[in-house]
């Protein structure tokens, strides 16, 4: 026999001003199955909850309905209340008589009548509720970080410092990412390598961190707490355990004409190389496209000279499979391709460069040893023009519709550093808007203008062309309403940034959603900014949206906090509102598995008694409750109705429909 209790909340005057709460409570007393009905000013308050607990005990309630604010607000509160009074928390239903009633209606009679129907509907549903127990699944105490840039490094260090094992999978031969390529960092102008490389070393030396460089994620199975990941370890043709990083191979390699991608292709490197001096791991890698031995079978010089015997031309890709409890995605960014922006002459003029190329030209470890020389003739540029928003804020289809966020600040940095080091250089910056929100950011930009005399021109460049050996930068100066042409020696383009393209594959493997610009989507833009909607997957750095180093590091640490919180648990409570198949009705047709986004449904052959001593073997669906997220897609796909959803069963929803429609 059902014994339902009804609790109508006034929510101060929020509900009581438009809904006759006392009348609602009174009417409910005569509803079949209801043995107790009361109203109270604030049901969610300590006293209100006490009232509920008492009623549950005194009246032996088997289920309760709270007529109050949205379940999205206080469902969890009242479930805990019920549990404290010994009632299964899933025997609670909320009738939303605030957001869906009192707040949107003005007429008291109308609102009261609707509130009565809503409470009745909740009663109809709760009568069909069944006690549910949240399941448990174990947590593998190891995290995977995809991407070894500053985001991945910071997340890995924080997680490892908390005592959990972390693997960093990095597709390049070294960790470090984009930050390793930078010269100085804003707004403090400290040297990028000086603050990054110690962290790289920390990673390498941390006993809890395993760096899997030159590796990529191939396959992901499982779910939060229990991911199983297959990782491809690409052949680097050098035994990582033997190479000492002595660089003799680099000296002896006869094939030295490969473009140095670390230096943005501004100079060359040997086929066998260590990407840069502070690379971690400090181990060589052979570019198979460039290596004479791998291409023709003849050469083998590096092998001859390698004292450690680390060179192995026969090496093949290998695969490892590991289990993880949580995954951090930190795949980073790249500048966009500028083929669609030929008006700036990037492809035709060596002295039109991107900002990232300028970083290398100004870096002491770069191709010019930190002396700013223009690529065409090695001369000092006397007039340098920066162009902002190259491909950013572009909705024409050529570029990206978003603001790349970092360009205003790094351009101010570049302008300032150039004026500081070469005071005789003239620096112009074409901008649409200068965007510098952030601590000490606007002050930084103003210093460029006020202290260093950088010429900021509000306007955009229409054309860059070469005339008599000079780069003519023709653009508008909107403040003076004129068109100007600046004779420049070097033009620097602030190319828009976009997510590293490999993120698409990673997103697919993780079933993490991705937006139209290929940025990974966070679970909630404001309240859950580092979590992917896929449980157990966290987002750090530019893969989630454009951001600078301080923001990236904050986000990485936030990810780490989330991961630590997850890994600290031995078991995870799972949502008990999951799909449940009735095997006696299941056709085993696989339609439900086809629509399951989580792979929660598998099939097995089971023996069924047919009567008369006969049995038959049938293929039936099984739902893994730890994997099922409870969307219900399978329930509608099932023609026999064998699949149902706990907490939102067909019968429950139909009873709600009936309660609402019956006048």
């Amino acid at each position: 026999m059902q014994r339902i209790g009804v609790f109508i909340c006034w929510c101060g005057s929020n509900i009581a001003a438009t809904v006759d709460v006392q009348k609602v409570a009174e009417v409910m007393k005569s509803e079949p199955g209801v043995v107790y009905s009361a109203d109270y000013q604030y049901m969610c308050s300590e006293n209100g909850q006490q009232l509920i607990k008492q009623a549950i005990k005194e009246h032996n309630l088997t289920g309760i309905v709270v007529g109050s604010c949205s379940p999205r607000m206080h469902e969890a509160t009242f479930r805990k209340t019920a549990e404290a009074a010994g009632l299964n928390p899933y025997m609670v239903e909320i009738a939303n008589i605030r957001e869906h009633c009192s707040w949107i209606h003005k007429d008291m009679d109308e609102a009261t009548e609707k509130a009565i129907i809503l409470v009745r509907t909740a009663i109809a549903k709760v009568k069909l509720n069944a006690p549910l127990m949240a399941g448990e699944s174990p947590v593998v105490k190891r995290a995977l970080v995809i991407g070894g840039g500053i985001a991945g490094i910071q997340a890995a260090l924080d997680i490892a410092d908390a005592g959990f094992e972390v693997d960093i999978v990095e597709k390049n031969a070294t960790i470090g990412g984009r930050m390793a390529q930078l010269d100085k960092t804003f707004p403090t102008l400290d040297c990028s390598a000086c603050i990054l490389t110690p962290k790289m070393v920390d990673c390498a030396q941390h006993e809890k961190i395993d760096i899997l460089s030159y590796s990529e994620v191939e396959e992901v199975k499982g779910f939060v707490g229990n991911f199983s990941v297959k990782i491809r370890r690409k052949a680097r043709y050098v035994d990582e355990t033997k190479c000492t990083g002595c660089k003799i191979c680099m000296e002896k390699c006869p094939s030295k004409k490969g473009l140095n991608s670390f230096n943005m292709d501004l100079n060359t490197r040997p086929a066998i190389h260590i990407p840069f001096a502070q690379a971690i791991p400090n181990v060589a890698v052979i570019d198979p496209e460039q290596c004479i031995k791998l291409k023709t079978g003849k050469c083998g010089i590096c092998q001859k000279f390698c004292g450690a015997g680390a060179i192995d031309y026969e090496q093949k890709d290998t695969f490892i499979e590991r289990e993880y409890g949580a995954i951090v995605v930190a795949t980073g960014y790249k500048p966009i391709n500028l083929d669609a922006f030929n008006e700036y002459g990037y492809n035709d003029n060596k002295d039109v460069i991107t900002s990232l190329e300028l970083e290398r030209l100004m870096n002491a470890a770069g191709p010019t040893n930190g002396v700013l020389l223009r690529p065409s003739d090695g001369e000092h540029p006397k007039v340098i023009t920066f162009i902002q928003c190259v491909g950013s804020r572009d909705s024409s289809g050529c570029g990206k519709p978003y603001c790349s966020k970092i360009c205003c600040m790094y351009t101010a940095k570049h302008a300032m550093l150039i004026r500081e080091k070469y005071p005789d250089t003239e620096v112009h910056v074409f901008y649409i808007d200068v965007r510098t929100p952030g601590k000490n950011y606007d002050e930084f930009y103003r210093r460029a203008v006020e202290q260093y005399g950088v010429d900021y021109i509000k306007g955009m460049v229409g054309k860059v062309y070469n005339e008599n050996g000079k780069l003519m930068v023709q653009g508008s100066n909107l403040i003076d309403n004129e068109q100007i042409t600046i004779e420049s020696d070097l033009v620097v383009l602030a190319a828009a940034i976009e997510p590293e393209p490999s993120v698409r594959k990673v997103a697919t493997l993780l079933t993490a959603s991705i937006d139209t610009n290929n940025f990974l989507t966070e679970s909630h833009a404001k309240l859950r900014p580092v979590e992917s909607p896929t449980a157990g997957v966290y987002l750090a750095g530019v893969c989630q949206g454009p951001k600078d180093i301080p923001e990236t590091v904050s986000q990485a640490s936030a990810c780490a906090a989330k991961v630590i919180g997850l890994l600290a648990k031995d078991k995870l409570k799972t949502n008990p509102c999951v799909a449940i198949p009735d095997e006696s009705m299941c056709n085993g047709c696989s339609q439900c598995a086809n629509v399951c986004a989580y792979g929660a449904i598998t099939y097995e052959n089971k023996e069924f008694r047919l009567g008369g001593g006969k049995t038959e073997i049938r293929r039936v669906a099984c739902v893994n409750p730890a994997v099922c997220q409870g969307c219900g897609a399978c329930t509608v796909t099932c023609p026999s109705g064998a699949m149902d959803l706990k907490g939102f069963s067909s019968k429950q929803i139909m009873s709600e429909v009936e309660a609402i429609c019956k006048k």
Partner: protein, 325 residues
Amino acid sequence: MKDVEMKMKERAKQLLESGEVARVVGWKKGDFCYDPSPATFETVEELDNFVYDYFCGANLSKYLIQISKKEGKTAVFLKPCDTYSFNQLVKEHRINRENVYVIAVECMAKFDIEKIKEKGVSQITGVEVKDKDVKVSSLYGETTLYKPEILLTKCETCQKTHQVKDEEIILHERPERDVDRFAEVKKLEAMTEDERFAFWKEQLSKCIRCNACRNVCPACSCVKCVFDNPASGVAAKANDSEFEEKLFHVIRAFHVAGRCTDCGECSRVCPQHIPLHLLNRKFIKDIDGLYGEFQAGEEAEGKTPLTSYTEGDAEPNDVLNGEAK
């Protein structure tokens, strides 16, 4: 057609004698020349009653759900349209494909005895076909009928070809047919809402809820049907109201949407002559138009239109307002 039957019988005999198969599923003679019925033959002797003629319209694939679970291999004769249902059931793991040996047989279209009777010919004893002329002999003499007029509805627009075969028995070339199978659906679509409502009200009011359509339908093969399950909230043995007439057919059509191979068995067996295939064909037409041509049962693997999607699918409101691209 006789030559085909001979060949089939001969092959069935070989298969049974050699022990290659434990049974053969085909058609056996009925009380009259026009009512052969599906049957299982386990011995050579039983094959005496084997028949294959213009009245063997029944789709044998659904029987294989149970039969293919039995020990030993089963040989089955499948007409082109039957193979789609067969494939669909294999896709849904209902037929154990390894246990079945499919012999594809030619069809040449089947006759609807009701349509022959409507022409005023009764007590018929046999038919003979020459091109488009059908010589029908009956106790009262001979009449010549025009073949396209007496075909089963499902055969009128059939363009199907065998999708599965382990071997084939095909002796004649099939006549070309070029009729739009959606013509009737389009006609209904062109009507006003009121006219359509009146049309279906009249048709469905005839439904006696005998469940023949459900029982014959290869897609309607649930272990337990929702309409038999008291827990489903829609169970009913009879139509108690106009609403329930609709409910049954809407839900049935929705459940088979994307899985229905348009085998037309529902309309063939309906004792009330409700054009049930027009319900399923509406779904098929919408699916083809909105999500690209799809023929259930063409493949024995893969997803159906209702268990797949594309990001740019048409919006339901646009579909309703005829604005979907």
